[in-house]
């Protein structure tokens, strides 16, 4: 078998030599090492090192436990908790019944029954609005999809129930969640943007277009 002769001398060989010296101790070292390891074995050195670690953890007692029902962690700002329906500051529901949340939902949690607002044929609202929270995976796509920001994600997460039918929420329940979680409400859109002209017959409280 022909060996690569370049390996016998040259830079590579020096490197190998150095490595060998580092890796392979000579005989005196070997005896010392084995003696040391032998002493370590019979005195249970490693076990005592481990027991020192556990003892130091006991003496420097800093538990990472959070006593959950009594103390709760601070949730991050973008926490995605229970879903809720929101209102404007005058108490009108934001939802316009456009069904976009229903379309966006990957788990088919939401069911919207849309209807015209009585006496205002240009406006629509959600006559019925159901959420089956047993299926919700809290992705937040419905909140993103909503064109009027009628959906919000609260910071509630303690929604364990004994009967899972209690997680099938209707519009009133969702509005109630929104009422208690978002006490500060937005103004109506047209009032938020006073410099934008809203030419719509539905806005009866706005000055009408001169005719």
């Amino acid at each position: 078998m022909i060996r690569f002769s370049g390996k016998r001398h040259g830079y590579r060989n020096q490197l190998d030599n150095q490595n060998n010296k580092l890796n392979r101790p000579d005989k005196a070292d070997l005896i010392n090492m084995t003696f040391k390891t032998w002493i370590k074995t019979i005195t249970f050195y490693e076990i005592f090192v481990g027991m020192k670690v556990t003892m130091s953890h006991m003496l420097h007692y800093r538990p990472v436990t959070l006593q959950y029902p009594h103390e709760k962690r601070t949730l991050p700002d973008n926490y995605r908790g229970m879903l809720a329906l929101l209102r404007y500051d005058d108490g009108v529901e934001k939802c316009v019944g456009c069904d976009l949340c229903e379309a966006a939902c990957p788990s088919r949690v939401i069911r919207v029954v849309s209807a015209e607002v009585p006496d205002e044929p240009t406006k629509r609202y959600a006559k019925e609005y159901y959420m089956d929270m047993t299926r919700c995976l809290f992705c937040g796509l419905c909140v993103d999809a909503c064109p009027v920001d009628a959906l919000g994600m609260t910071r509630e997460f303690e929604w364990s129930v004994y009967d899972k039918r209690q997680l099938h929420l209707n519009k009133e329940q969702l509005l109630a969640i929104g009422d208690r979680s978002f006490p500060v409400r937005e103004k109506q859109l047209e009032l938020q943007h006073p410099n934008v002209a809203f030419f719509n017959v539905a806005f009866k409280h706005l000055p009408q277009k001169p005719s």
């Binding site: 076990i47 027991m51 800093r62 538990p63 990472v64 006593q67």
Partner: protein, 364 residues
């Protein structure tokens, strides 16, 4: 006849007191173990029941008492019922020969009794070894009678393990028996009076300080074998929860499960008592005499003795928990190799060396 009945009554009272002490220790240990394990693992342990979870043993006891008692289909009902009782009884009666306090006598109703030891029999060590071996039967029976593969494997492991390590326990004690020249635990403890250098772990002669008859190797062998014999981590193969669900008591529930668990803690306490009585001087303080004697309260010296005994026993119990918090479980072949190829030769060599040293340097 009246004397016999009186004697029976006194013995019964002693047994009752001893058993309640052991049961209180067991209850304390269940709480203490969870707490200390929690502290060592940066947790809190039980915190909910009572202040700092102090009532957790009570809550556990009530819960286990009212739990449904399930006997698995196909189980041997008689054996299944017998196993926890056997384990429990055996772990309890071992305490009969343990001297909790000094070897003083008390005269009541014309009877002379020893208040701190239930039965000072002259084969105490032999009795404890015999009783501890019977304890293995409970485990094996429980594993076999459950009609479950996990239980059976646990029982088989327990059989092999307890037998191999029982041998080392016995051989480790021989050195101490050679030094003391007796099998009675009371007399062995009395032979170690007068300072920690007379304890058999150090082994100084009564007239000297030099540790010429040291039993420290026997002590280490005894402690390791005791951990293995009580099926504690790192030798908890019979109930290896990550491999065998719960080992031999997988199928047990309710009070029968509680019996197994409290028997485990009682066994721990028993081996701790034996270790402190045989190697660490039992009730003797590490200094000659007692402080109460020095200040002139000889009548109260027994309090100090009992405190020292309890301190030693609780040190060993803490050691058990500490080891549990530190070490992982051994593999089965490692366990067997360690027992037969390491512990056994050390114990045998210890006997030979102790005998030779005793021959050339007799103790008195």
């Amino acid at each position: 006849m009246t004397e016999l009945s009186l004697r029976l009554a006194v013995s019964f009272a002693q047994i009752l007191a001893e058993m309640s002490i052991v049961m209180i220790t067991v209850a304390t240990m269940t709480y203490f173990e969870r707490k200390v394990l929690g502290w060592m693992q940066d947790r809190m342990g039980p915190m909910e029941v009572g202040p700092y979870g102090l009532l957790q043993p009570v809550a556990d006891g009530i819960k286990l008492f009212f739990k449904e008692d399930i006997v698995p289909a196909g189980a041997n009902r008689a054996m299944f019922a017998l196993a926890p009782m056997l384990t429990m009884v055996v772990s309890m009666i071992g305490f009969a020969v343990i001297p909790f306090g000094p070897n003083m006598t008390l005269d009541i109703f014309g009877l002379t009794i020893k208040p701190f030891v239930v039965a000072d029999i002259n084969i105490g060590v032999l009795y404890i070894l015999a009783i501890a071996s019977i304890g293995a039967y409970g485990i094996i029976l429980g594993g076999w009678a459950s009609n479950s593969k996990y239980s059976l494997l646990g029982g088989l492991r327990a059989a092999a393990q307890v037998i191999s390590y029982e041998l080392n326990v016995g051989l480790a004690l021989v050195g101490v028996l050679l030094l003391a020249g007796t099998l009675s635990l009371v007399e062995i403890t009395e032979a170690q009076a007068g300072g920690f250098w007379h304890w058999f772990i150090w082994g100084g002669r009564p007239d000297g300080f030099f540790p010429i008859h040291t039993q420290i190797f026997a002590f280490v062998v005894f402690i390791i074998s005791a951990v293995a014999e009580t099926n504690r981590i790192p030798f908890d193969l019979p109930e290896a929860e990550s491999e065998l669900v719960a080992g031999f008591f997988t199928e047990y529930s309710g009070m029968r499960f509680a019996f197994f668990v409290s028997a485990e803690y009682a066994n721990m306490t028993l081996v701790s008592c034996v270790a402190s009585a045989l190697f660490l001087g039992g009730w003797n303080a590490p200094y000659p005499g007692t402080i109460f004697e020095y200040v002139g309260l000889e009548q109260l010296a027994w309090v100090e003795h009992i405190v020292w005994f309890a301190a030693k026993v609780y040190f060993f119990l803490f050691l058990f928990i500490w080891i549990r918090a530190t070490l992982p479980r051994l593999r089965y072949d490692q366990l067997m190799r360690f027992g037969w190829k390491v512990m056994l030769p050390i114990a045998l060599a210890n006997i030979i060396i102790t005998s030779i040293m005793l021959y050339f340097f007799p103790r008195s």
